[in-house]
Symmetry: C2
Subunit: 339 residues, 2 copies
DNA sequence: CAACTTTTGGCAATCGCTTGCCGCCTGTTG
DNA sequence: CAACAGGCGGCAAGCGATTGCCAAAAGTTG
């Protein structure tokens, strides 16, 4: 069966090799290695010694096959190249490693069907899934959650534990900030229609604006990339706005570039507020006023919620919802409204 | 054995279920699904129909165990949060998916021992490894290459196929560019000592500078992060340089910030050239003149070289070395030397 | 139509590890 | 000293696929 491994390499040691050398049964080796307190200390030490001498590495395949656990957690993000997810990925990577899991990163390409398909395939080969900014419908999401342990990030569901970033909270701050600069109306450069947080942000803006007598206009949808920034910038200019809040920093940075191209000064002619405080928001020109949140921590929290779900005993009370705090980071892209 | 899966979920279908429904043996199902031309068309269609009705998903675990192939390729990068690797990751992700492989992303934390340890563990559970900017010694690297299919990126080895980015080539361009602006000496803000490309870049600079009668000074080592930029900037100022080439853009961007803090104007007081042309290099302030290369493509090429290694028959001539072209992207961070 | 080659599908042995169940050997207890 | 409880280790049955080997069926050929 096992064909000669491409890269030569002598056969890797198995628990059987260890068992033979130690003069015990394979079951004892297995237990010594993955259930230490189940075997006598002397036996265990001997087995451990032999195992390390042989450079033994357990086969995750075999282990998974017989135990039903894979030790793998998948992290699904809509777009690997979006720096926002970098921070999430970093957080999950870190925390998963600490919990002894391996991270499987998948880019779902902002596509619902890729996401759905991936989820289905992963059901077999992972112990759980972290779903960042899912593009699924509520129905699809709850189906998925019923089939496999799941935690969502930036997407609320009743069925699965969720980590939310309290952007709406900070939106209020952003509006106050803008109002204090004399802005009376604000434009929202919207993100993808299928994005749940896009709706959420717009709702928050609309509501907060109404509450303080400002007017709010929604533009878009725009793809959440720097490239789409040009279109968003032009539309914003067309709307005659003095202040704009962008769906995310990527879009905002793109808009910044377009404004510069067109000779529109920021913040003198127009103020712009981003969202996420990604890598780059602090050194673009001008540095972006944005809604900042502990994204990396969100990733870590999501992992711990998933761990709790996987092991309800040790995991303690499985929290169903975590909301990460946000705050407005004021930099140089916002200023007084022009008269 | 198989304990009740945490998230309820009825047992997943296996080839056995399909075999029963189709009235054939499991071996036939297996063949129909993974070796289609081996079974009669009618039988195959029937099996495929049943499989899809059952929402059958093969167990990668079981498949891997018996076939010896896992369908997983690991990608090791020193630091997930470095945008340079984003592009590589994106390239590998894309190409691996196209080749039917799953990408396992691992952050080795710029640490040799983590890298070594990961490599060892991965030997069992992956079909091959893509090693970006390895921190291993030549010896360790050749050991690793002899044990598992491997392709290195940005690190030359005799033992494994390699994808190199021709930074030295562009360094010459950078020096010419600087010389044309009247710069007579240049400082190199160096990267990590264990980085092979760091040595390579310095050598190229030293040599190219000598050839055109410029003087070159090396500073550092600095961690390849924006944070270390401050120290690098101060040292550069201390060295009285008029032009500096940074190990990478991250460092360069950090230096930009520090220069601004200290009231040093770029490029009037000092010119700075980065390396990699990462996300952000085009919109920082001022936009960074940098050495640009098709990083994402490097990732794709690396994957195809690995594929060729895994399947020498279909793979064609296994190229041992690919060099990605580079060019100097001139933006606003370089200008005439101050008199 | 016999002899022979292909196709096609089944049998059963793995792959490496986990785990339920059982029995032996101690040490403890009444 | 008999009875019993635990600790410790072994047996063997899987987990879900793949695949070498073989035989039956179907197709070819002279």
């Amino acid at each position: 069966m096992n064909p000669e491994t491409p890269s030569s390499a002598e056969r890797m040691p198995t628990i059987r090799d260890i068992a033979e050398l130690a003069g015990v049964a394979t079951s004892t080796v297995s237990r010594a290695l993955s259930n230490p307190q189940r075997v006598n200390a002397r036996t265990r030490e001997k087995i451990e010694r032999i195992a390390s001498e042989l450079h033994y590495v357990p086969s995750t395949q075999a282990r998974g096959l017989s135990s039903g656990r894979t030790g793998v957690i998948a992290v699904l993000v809509p777009d690997i190249t979006n720096p926002f997810y970098f921070d999430i990925i970093r957080g999950t990577q870190y925390q998963l490693k600490a919990s002894g899991y391996t991270q499987l990163l998948v880019d779902t390409e902002e596509a619902t069907d890729v996401e759905l398909d991936t989820l289905r395939k992963l059901r077999r080969s992972t112990d759980g899934v972290l779903l960042a900014a899912s593009r699924l419908t509520d129905q699809q999401l709850s189906d998925a959650a019923s089939r496999q342990p799941l935690v969502t990030i930036n997407r609320a569901t009743a069925e699965a534990p969720t980590v939310l970033i309290d952007t709406p909270g900070a939106v209020v701050q952003a509006l106050e900030h803008l109002a204090s600069f004399g802005h009376r109306s604000v434009v929202y450069a919207g993100g993808p229609t299928s994005s749940w947080s896009n709706h959420r942000r717009w709702k928050a803006i609309e509501e907060a604006a109404a509450k303080r007598g400002m007017s709010a206009t929604r533009l878009g949808p725009y793809a959440p990339t720097a490239l789409s920034g040009a279109a968003a910038a032009d539309a914003t200019l067309g709307a005659g706005a003095t202040a704009v809040i962008a769906f995310n920093d990527l879009l905002a940075i793109g808009m910044l570039g377009r404004f510069r191209e067109r000779g529109v000064r920021v913040p003198e002619d127009i103020s712009i507020v981003g969202c996420d405080d990604i890598f780059g928001a602090d050194f673009c020109n001008p540095p972006l006023t944005t809604i900042s949140s502990p994204i990396e921590q969100a990733g870590r929290v999501a992992v711990s919620m998933l761990m709790a779900q996987l092991d309800p005993i040790r995991g303690g009370t499985p929290r169903k919802l975590a909301v990460m705090p946000t705050h407005l980071k004021i930099r140089a892209s916002t200023g007084p409204a022009r008269a």
